[in-house]
Symmetry: C2
Amino acid sequence: MPDSKKYDIILDALQQLLEDRTIQSISVSEIAQKAGMGKGSLYYYFPSKEAILDALIERSYEKTLQTAKNLASQTDIAPFTRMAMLFQACQNSSTAFLMQPETPISSAQDIAFLHQKYLTRLVSELKPDLTEIIKQGIENGEIHFDHPAALAEIVLIVIAVKLDNSLFPTSPEETAETLKGLIALLEKGTDIAPGTLNYLTFTTGK
Amino acid sequence: MPDSKKYDIILDALQQLLEDRTIQSISVSEIAQKAGMGKGSLYYYFPSKEAILDALIERSYEKTLQTAKNLASQTDIAPFTRMAMLFQACQNSSTAFLMQPETPISSAQDIAFLHQKYLTRLVSELKPDLTEIIKQGIENGEIHFDHPAALAEIVLIVIAVKLDNSLFPTSPEETAETLKGLIALLEKGTDIAPGTLNYLTFTTGK
DNA sequence: AATGTACTTGACCGACGGTCGAAAAGTGTG
DNA sequence: CACACTTTTCGACCGTCGGTCAAGTACATT
């Protein structure tokens, strides 16, 4: 088994570079330099540049995803509280890593790619957990709806897409309006008490 | 004014190449060769390779988008009929162009990019139109909901994401289930008659 | 014929992702 | 320590790519 510390050093280097640069503008040699090793060494640990990015994304959301997964099993907490915690965890992790503060020319392609990788992962990983939470809400009689898995996916897609503002760039007001609409639709469509989901509006705060 | 026929020849070449290849695996020289001209000529008409792709996407959905826009102004047709026509137009255009039948190695990045470009455009362009349709449904008393624009965006996002199966790959059954859930949520959440939106399930047929 | 303009071209450039063989560092054995 | 052997490091090198550009062609206009 190879020295796993080296993996993290490389990932750290890329993450650091990614803070104010785009993937395509970052060369493999640069990552190697930042990591303090030769380019060849990178290819000893990773098969390709893309694999490094994949691993970084994997590592970045490992923790978030894990806490989300734990949440689903904590049946003693009320469903809506857990949902709130789950969304909070999502947005904490999303903004921190993905938002490039200064994107000079950014050829659009790499940003798009980065965000999409994150989106896909988030939705597919969290869907079973949110489904579980919703199911318990249905059993408790707090939610009335016949398609828990579908509901989970719908909510996750909309939330993920809207929280990631670079996919369909909209003003903060418009994002808030969409979220408000989603809340209204959910509350009315699942017979839960109005206002129960209001915590969602807080998560839009930048 | 440059010969606009040349633009289309180049776009045709790329589209043809794109049918069984990925963007990143297609070199600019190849596009030029297929278009029957030198590489330099491409750069006389387009500033970059990405610009060619953008133009192709633009051209591919120009017609669809135009018919969708016309739909919104046809107030004599019932809102739900117009919505159905709009979705039908969406899915016809999406599958035809985006689905690469044989993607041998396809580095994920280019597919992702292509699909996302389409998604972004579809949602942002169609949102105003669908909003208009919904607003008229509200005025008619057929739909009861306070956030027409938000509803339009939510529906478009979910539909677009789910129709494009490569973003979050799921089985046809799962897609159908999600769509059924969306219909149920919409019908219950907007007080429209159950079954009114059933045409949505037809659009999932491959 | 001469001048100007719109268009074409492929050799060329710098940079990139990835390879490779050799060297260095680490490890176990006697 | 010497030795064999494996693991790790490395940067010169390779092929390819997107993009540039000076030279050229085609063709009006004068």
